[in-house]
């Protein structure tokens, strides 16, 4: 038996875990790199001169799933549309401030919005397949881009990535409309993936789906984040809690005098923090169902 004095002097070791191992683990966790993909600074969006969203600054990290939550009218859909310049399509929309993508100004004069939308794909609330076959839906993007080589492989890869291949491989020529809602949504995801994007933007991708299809989409998101960066707008807070690494809570700033309601970013943090210990009272009231 070692005497107590020398035992007390020895470093504490439990089941082979010593301080060096703990230090390494600590370093690994803290150095889990957050590579900034989008850097948003003082973003302000207005429609016909009326501000819809103001003063938004945040960073979106590569290979993370980032969720935007908040009550109706808080500007979260407006915001997600800024990431692939969808607001360009609305004549009265004006975007001020900066969004840097891989360090480059997304709204710079030399940037081609079509190229942006190829690299930053979008999936909408309601599945919107083209009135074409399953195959042609997925092949559409590559064909437009003139990628004619190995089209079958490309279509298969995209359908596999979207976890739809096994369900449709025997009926690729069937109409996309013959698929269920959940399958149609995964087809739309496959259609995005076929052009090899960098980012997937999802605007309430599961809100029109049943629980089983919703689970399929959520599982798919977990799979896809290995290769893609995903940004999702959702009304379903539990969905944000289940899938997102980071969560941004938006709210509405009401200006009674001018009768204006403008979206603002209230809190942005890791999802566990937002759902266990949010620091802003408005965020806490929203996630606990006391407001909104």
């Amino acid at each position: 038996m070692p005497d107590m004095e020398s035992a007390a002097a020895a470093p504490v070791r439990i089941a082979g875990v010593d301080e060096r191992v703990l230090a390494e683990r600590e370093e690994r966790v803290s150095s889990h790199r957050r590579d900034v993909l989008f850097d948003v600074e003082n973003l302000r969006v207005s429609y016909a001169g009326v501000p819809a969203l103001k003063d938004v600054s945040l960073e979106i990290y590569k290979n993370f799933i980032t969720a935007f939550i908040g009550p109706s009218g808080c500007g979260k859909s407006t915001f997600i549309r800024c990431f692939n310049r969808m607001n360009d399509l609305i004549p009265t929309a004006a975007v001020e401030g900066t969004i840097r993508y891989h360090g480059a100004d997304l709204y710079g004069p030399e940037v081609d919005p079509v190229e942006v939308r190829k690299r930053i794909g979008m999936v909408f609330q309601k599945p919107n397949p083209f009135p074409k076959s399953i195959y042609d839906n997925v092949a559409f993007g590559p064909r437009v881009l003139g990628w004619k080589k190995n089209l079958d492989e490309r279509v298969e890869r995209a359908l596999r990535q979207a976890a739809l291949w096994d369900e449709v491989k025997k009926r690729l020529k069937a109409s996309a409309y013959s698929l269920s809602g959940g399958q149609q949504q995964r087809l739309c995801i496959a259609r995005c993936l076929a052009v090899e994007p960098d980012v997937l933007l999802m605007d309430e991708p599961a809100s029109a789906l049943d629980p089983i299809s919703t689970t399929a989409i959520e599982d798919l998101m977990h799979e896809l984040k290995r290769d893609y960066t995903i940004v999702i707008v959702t009304h379903n807070m539990q969905q944000a809690a289940r899938v997102a690494d980071m969560t941004a809570f938006f709210s509405v700033d009401v200006d009674e005098e001018h009768d204006r309601r403008t979206g603002i970013l209230v809190e942005y943090d890791t999802t566990p923090t937002i759902f266990t210990q949010p620091s802003d009272k408005r965020c806490e009231d929203y996630v606990t169902g006391r407001f909104g």
């Binding site: 539990q238 759902f275 266990t276 210990q277 996630v287 606990t288 169902g289 407001f291």
Partner: protein
């Protein structure tokens, strides 16, 4: 506003506080039974534990149902998790009261020892005070008050050490040794009740701050 949900949370907390009151009654009963060597009262304390257990199970079931249906988050999640732990600590305290009552029955025909009885009354009184502080600080979300619990606990720990010293000084007579060992267990029960009160204080701190931490490290 989720009215039903809030009502359920309020109900959980109310039941928890009731359970705490029952534990205080059990503790007072066990201390009186010990001091007066009252076997009947000791039996009452033992039977009374069922009431504490009913509250304990009611809270467990309430939390299970609430987690399944309401998916609490943020402040609500912290409250539910804290109640879950506090519930267990209270139930364990009541079990220690039962142990004291059972030991009382075993030693009721032995002559009373003034020094020990005084020490137990002191420890018991401090344990009661700690339970009250623990319950009140949880109800009031009073972090400062919860943080006073380790200091109070230190006083019980000291008394516990005195009891052990006293028992050891009684000599090696077999009968006295057996009695003495049982008294050490009584002392240990009171000391553990103090520890559980500190643990409840830690749950208050978690609920208020969102951080898990021990008030004192294990070397104390």
């Amino acid at each position: 506003m989720r009215v039903t949900f809030q009502e359920e949370l309020d109900q959980l907390e109310a039941t928890l506080q009731e359970e705490g009151e029952l534990v205080l009654r059990a503790l007072r009963g066990s201390l009186n039974a010990l001091a007066q060597q009252d076997v009947e009262l000791a039996d009452e304390v033992i039977a009374f534990d069922d009431e504490v257990d009913d509250h304990y199970l009611g809270i467990e079931e309430g939390i299970q149902s609430l987690l399944a249906r309401q998916t609490p988050v943020a402040v609500d999640l912290r409250l539910v998790l804290a109640v879950l732990h506090v519930n267990l600590h209270l139930e364990r305290m009541a079990d220690y009261c039962v142990t004291i009552a059972k030991l009382t029955k075993l030693v009721h025909d032995s002559p009373a020892d003034e020094t020990l009885m005084e020490a137990f009354e002191e420890m018991g009184g401090r344990a009661e005070q700690m339970i009250r502080v623990a319950l009140d600080s949880f109800a009031e979300r009073d972090l400062e008050s919860a943080e006073t619990l380790p200091e109070l606990d230190e006083l019980i720990d000291r008394a516990n050490r005195r009891v052990v010293g006293h028992v050891l000084s009684l000599g090696s007579d077999q009968e006295k040794l057996e009695w003495g060992l049982r008294m050490i267990v009584v002392s240990r029960c009171l000391e553990r009740i103090g520890d559980h009160a500190v643990d409840i204080g830690e749950q208050t701190a978690y609920f208020v701050t969102g951080e898990f931490r021990e008030f004192t490290d294990a070397s104390h």
